[in-house]
Amino acid sequence: MAELNIQNVHMQFSGVVALDGVTFDVKEGEIFSLIGPNGSGKSTLFNCINGFNRPQNGSIKFNNINLLKKQPHQIITEGIARTFQNIQNVPYMTILDNILLGAHKRIDNKSTMKRWISRKQRQNEEAMGLEILDFLGIANYEQKYMAGQPYGIQKLTEIARALVAKPKLVLMDEPAAGMNEQETVEIAKIISEIREDLGITVLVVEHDMSLVMSISDRICVLDSGKILAIGQPEEVKNHPDVIKAFLGDSADA
């Protein structure tokens, strides 16, 4: 059963407690949202899942495999891809190549060699990226350099790079941050389609409440590294602690 189990994770940076006994599961096929005020430990949790941070305590398992024993670059082989809150890309590479970066593990060494002599192989490789570009509706951008592209396009390529790996679970860190209203609606649609059309489980961190409420199956609210509430959107929205701690001040933010 494709499931992410996070058990009692405790992460501390020289005195700063970023995660304090975080426990929850993400079930296969779910869209699971992680919300919370700035500095509440959301990105840190992502970093723990993909090996950038090592929690002092707790366990993180995916399909019963202990992720804490894995190197960061091995996480994608387990079927988990991610996007970054601050866009991470290669400016002087084309958008297509930036996306194909995510297909690193899908292209084996033999086909890399073949690619050097066979045009067909190259086209196969490019097709992987084009498929995702199509899916995201930015196919005409493939040959453009990343540098100087609008923010929205860069954000989408970030998602595309994660999807091209054909993961079972994708971690998205604030995909709609900095987007305008129309783009945010677009992102919401894409997230739903990732689940519906590609069958990928989604764990998303987001500040935009309307987006979170509209797409999530379940929501987990973090505050100062502790879980305030977990449940369906309606439950969380009406949870007294949540209203007090988080939703209250994000309304005017």
């Binding site: 993909n50 090996g51 950038f52 190197q71 960061p72 670059h73 091995q74 996480i75 994608i76 082989t77 891809a81 991610r82 970054f84 991470q88 890309n89 290669v90 400016p91 002087y92 590479m93 190549d97 194909l100 970066l101 995510g102 297909a103 690193h104 593990k105 292209i107 890399t112 690619r115 050097w116 490789e125 790079r161 994660a162 790996a165």
Partner: protein, 316 residues
């Protein structure tokens, strides 16, 4: 007549450029693509050169075999240097690789049984399928056959998943790792590959120059190599080619002319103004043209293709 005799001189300079191009293609993959600065690439050239000279002239191996083994030896040295690169980057890596250059020089002097120490080593001409390569023209065809091969292979590497991994390591280690790229493995690979290119260039260098010594591979040479890559435009193989041609021709043809001209007014010599000119060029490129010569060419091409329609917009 004038032209014909002088031509051999220009051909000779072109041959030097050719050998350096092979090296800078590899250096571009390391420093340009992967962002791992090497200020010790002259040492890899030296390793290739001395290995080949020893293999062919002392161990009696055919040149063609040495052309395979020598790059591998340089590549293995690259591998070893790759280790510190796993932890350090930027200027610190530059200093480490510079130190590597000094160590290799010591090593060559210490192994005087094979290298004849600091005295330098005479090297035989290349023999290919029983044909001995002697004239500048022979050298030209030999060198530029391999230049073309090096450029093609360099581009293939640059455009494959290896090249993408290299650039991702340079611009975002996080994105690279999250995409499944093993940083350690690919950094080592970058050093190994660029060692291969440099070692290959070194073997050609030794046998077409017929004499090698530690003086050939001083620190300035390593610095020129990195300038070639930067001026050409990082992470573009054609850029490395253009940058190398530009610097070698500048160094051997233009700077001496300019030096003579300035000498008429100031009591300076060519070499004195050379560093100044190179420094200035680097500075101007970094400020105004970070994409290098190749980037400039691309812009000009786009400009003419869309001219006269709204050129300004695309040009900037």
């Amino acid at each position: 007549m004038e032209i014909s005799v002088a031509s051999s001189y220009y051909l000779f300079i072109l041959n030097i450029a050719g050998i350096y191009i092979i090296l800078s293609v590899g250096l571009d993959l390391l420093s340009g693509y992967t962002g791992l600065i090497s200020l010790g690439h002259g040492a890899f050239l030296a390793i290739g050169a001395y290995t080949s000279a020893i293999l062919v002239d002392q161990a009696g191996l055919p040149f063609m075999i040495s052309l395979i083994i020598s790059p591998l030896v340089a590549g293995l040295f690259g591998f070893v240097i790759g280790f510190p690169a796993l932890r350090i980057t930027g200027m610190y890596l530059g200093l480490t690789t510079m130190g590597f250059g000094f160590i290799v020089k010591r090593l060559i002097i210490a192994l005087r049984e094979w290298t004849q120490g600091a005295g330098g080593l005479e090297v035989s001409s290349p023999v290919i399928f029983g044909y001995t390569i002697t004239s500048d023209w022979d050298n030209y065809y030999l060198i530029f056959t391999f230049v073309i091969l090096a450029v093609i292979i360099g581009r293939k590497i640059g455009k494959s998943k290896i090249g993408r991994a290299f650039m991702a390591i340079r611009d975002s280690e996080q994105a690279a790792e999250a995409s499944g790229i093993n940083l350690a493995k690919y950094k080592m690979l970058a050093f190994f590959i660029s060692g291969l290119f440099a070692g290959f260039a070194g073997a050609l260098f030794a046998h077409t120059n017929h004499f090698i010594s530690t003086d050939h591979f001083d620190m300035m040479l390593s610095i020129y190599f990195i300038i070639m890559v930067l001026v050409g435009g990082v992470s573009s193989i054609y850029g490395a080619v253009l940058g190398t041609l530009f610097i070698v021709l500048l160094d051997n043809l233009f700077v001496p002319l300019l030096g003579d001209w300035i000498h008429g007014y100031l009591n300076t010599n060519t070499g004195d103004i050379q560093l100044l000119i190179f420094g200035l060029i680097m500075f101007l490129f970094i400020i105004f043209q970070p994409l290098g010569l190749y980037g400039m060419w691309l812009k000009i091409r786009i400009y003419w293709r869309i001219f006269p329609f709204n050129p300004r917009k695309r040009f900037t």
